[in-house]
């Protein structure tokens, strides 16, 4: 019995250490899929639970971050599909919502969130992985697509995002203003 308890404790410790180490993945999934702090808290709990539940099936020889992205994104997509939450999601994003982030880049990150919010849930996952600088092969593995298909889809999405970003830009913007006050 003690051996079983020890094994369980070890598993929990390993899980918590890995979760702490890769917490940023969950954080960014939350930013992409949940609009309000309440929604983020709710989704964060669901993601934690699914990660814990799926953890026994994780193979240590494989990348933990890839596995974590899969679980977190699947949970987030299913979460945002729920009808009641979709209603909440359709409400405009709170523009002045405070959240802690790297100060100079927060403006750009907010602007990006505004662009990403219009994408479909799976396109959002694709863009999120691109923003995370994940290699195309890994993105394809997480999504379950071929690398070629992923590249094509990603190119289209980047073009679309670029066009949207340019469309929002006003002629009076100076480079300093554009970068949120950076020199």
């Amino acid at each position: 019995v003690e051996a079983v308890i020890d094994q369980k404790d070890n598993r929990q410790k390993t899980f918590e250490a890995l979760l702490d180490q890769h917490e940023g993945i969950v954080f960014r999934v939350l930013l992409a899929y949940a609009a309000s702090p309440e929604d983020r808290e709710d989704l964060a709990q669901d993601i934690r639970l699914e990660l814990w539940r799926a953890f026994p099936g994780y193979e240590p020889c494989r990348s933990f971050s890839t596995w974590m992205f899969r679980v977190a994104l699947n949970t987030a997509i299913s979460w945002s599909r729920k009808a009641s939450l979709r209603k909440r999601w359709s409400a405009p994003w709170p523009k002045a919502e405070p959240f802690a982030a790297a100060a100079p880049d927060v403006v750009a990150a907010q602007a990006l969130r505004q662009l990403v919010q219009d994408l479909g849930e799976i396109d959002r996952a694709l863009v999120l992985l691109y923003l995370e600088d994940r290699p195309t092969a890994e993105i394809a593995e997480i999504l379950g697509m071929t690398p070629q298909n992923t590249s094509v889809r990603l190119t289209r999405l980047k073009q679309s995002l670029r066009a949207k970003a340019q469309a929002q830009e006003t002629p009076s913007d100076s480079p300093n203003q554009r970068s949120g006050g950076r020199p």
């Binding site: 917490e23 954080f27 639970l49 479909g120 799976i122």
Partner: protein
């Protein structure tokens, strides 16, 4: 992945917020995104801090909530099938003598089997969903379960309305015996059943092609699942 910043604990100031009107190019946006600090309002505590017991409890509740509807459907279907089957077994000779008296019980039995089948398949696909599977694969499983839910709760309900006659007659038969069914005007009952059969046949033949049917399914499946299905189709074609 997470670059640390000494100011990262500070929320966005109103001044900073003001400058948000102007987006940057994609590379700048990407750089900004990757430099985000992990702390976010609403998720202040460490993800790993939640107690295991609480996690399991909440997970159990989420699972129960997801599976509650098909489980209830399965139970209702089981009761209907049991009652219909028992009635036919108990009054076998009477039904053989007057086959019309057996129709309500047969319809209730078939309805119960259909409900159990649809709900059982929903449970199967929901249990099959592996959160660690690739996104398209997992969403495909969810799509299958959601599609069955649409069929069992919306499509089957509307087409089942034509067979409503079977339920009350069967209940009266349960109380008064199989011969009670003969009191009901045969033309009326047969008309209802025929209407139901025709509606069912129409659904079978044209259901997938009819625009209203596609719209109904699309609305029930939601954008993510439709998107997943479109992706899967694209991947297969590619």
């Amino acid at each position: 992945m997470n670059s640390q910043n000494p100011d990262s604990s500070q929320p966005i100031s109103p001044d900073t917020e003001h400058t948000m009107e102007t987006p940057m190019n994609l590379d700048e946006l990407k750089a900004a995104w990757t430099s985000l600090e992990k702390k976010v309002d609403g998720v202040s505590d460490s993800l790993a801090q939640q107690e295991t017991a609480k996690r399991s409890q909440r997970w159990g509740w989420i699972r129960l909530r997801t599976l509650a509807s098909p489980v209830v459907e399965t139970l209702i279907g089981f009761v209907c099938a049991l009652l219909g089957g028992s009635f036919l077994g108990d009054h076998f000779q009477a039904v053989l003598k007057n086959p019309v008296t057996g129709f309500p019980a047969i319809l209730v039995l078939l309805g119960g089997i259909l409900a159990m089948n649809l709900a059982g398949r929903q449970i199967y696909w929901l249990i099959q969903v592996d959160p660690a599977a690739s996104i398209l694969e997992a969403q495909k499983m969810v799509a299958k379960a959601a599609l069955l839910k649409v069929v069992s709760t919306k499509v089957a309900f509307f087409y089942g309305l034509a067979f409503w006659i079977a339920g009350p007659i069967f209940l009266i038969q349960l109380a008064g015996g199989p011969e009670v069914a003969l009191v009901v005007h045969a033309g009326w009952a047969v008309g209802n059943v025929l209407l139901g059969a025709m509606a069912g046949a129409a659904l079978w033949v044209w259901g997938d092609r009819a625009p209203w049917s596609s719209a109904l399914k699309a609305a029930a499946l939601g954008p993510a699942l439709n998107e997943a299905k479109a992706y899967l189709k694209e991947v297969k074609e590619g």
